[in-house]
Symmetry: C2
Subunit: 199 residues, 2 copies
Amino acid sequence: MVRIAVVHDEKLLRSALVQLLRSDDTLDVSSHCLDADGPELSAALPADVCVVDGECLTGPQDAGAGRLRARYGDRLVVLATAKRPGVLRRAFDGGALGLVDKNAPAHRLITAVHTVARGERFLDETLTVALLKGAEMPLTTRELGVLTLASQGAPIAEIAARLHLSRGTVRNYMATAVRKVGARNRVDAIRIVQSAGWT
Amino acid sequence: MVRIAVVHDEKLLRSALVQLLRSDDTLDVSSHCLDADGPELSAALPADVCVVDGECLTGPQDAGAGRLRARYGDRLVVLATAKRPGVLRRAFDGGALGLVDKNAPAHRLITAVHTVARGERFLDETLTVALLKGAEMPLTTRELGVLTLASQGAPIAEIAARLHLSRGTVRNYMATAVRKVGARNRVDAIRIVQSAGWT
């Protein structure tokens, strides 16, 4: 038996994924979430492979990604889409062995789980191009930081104060970020960066 | 037998939902998506109830929502979360009989499907407060329209041209929208409106 832990913050979809994996008799499946609403990860049984929705690894729950890695190492199967190269890239850089396209047929997930359980890499080919695109993220950490704060509604003066920069420098970072991502203005740059899953 | 059509744009989660519903022997389940990637809705078999992810009914696929309504009338079970009152409200206003919390246990979805098949309303109580909040959306259609175009990166001049308004009027709508949603600036207003699922 291969022991699987399923992590998804939406209970209904978590249950659905569990049911799908249980269609394979050789898998022993339990389920958890990263926030406080449901069965906590800390109470999770030991597992050989962890299946997690890539969207649960973004944003303020980034700490959750660290906890998953600490617990399961590289035995992670991350569900993602080609539309969000940032999410993909983060999963890949974080060392997850498995990357499964959310648009793949169900049997691909089962194959992925067995592959990763053997310690081998599984990468859906439909995700490869998006992964390479994600590698081309043109912004520096500073530029991305400025844009992220702006996307949360912070005005220039506040961004400057929080990052210990002058207002002029913040404006420069912002202008460079807008140019680099090919945006028309700040709002457009935020939209591009968010939809790619970079913030 | 109750015939169910499952609509979700991500194939893997669509399969998982289908499997979950098939755990009830009295349900006859088929699956479809609203975009061009998978089994098209137009080729769908007749069904008594349609289960659809609320996120598939937002954004540019709003036309899809119309197609679902034309086909299934009020026999829709929409999956949603309390975090997105706009998505909830749109489903409710669109006449969907069923609203199921994505954080509900799996048996709630099965109960919902049978309830809606009988032509009765099913509303998860965890969604009620969010639904009422969604009713309080303070923006007019015009203000929301201006904000939506801005969120896509359109500058003032372009918004004015597309909505046949003067630039000053667009700026006024924008300022009113920022004030009404309690935002700090335009970017903040866009963030608030998007995260509530209003665009």
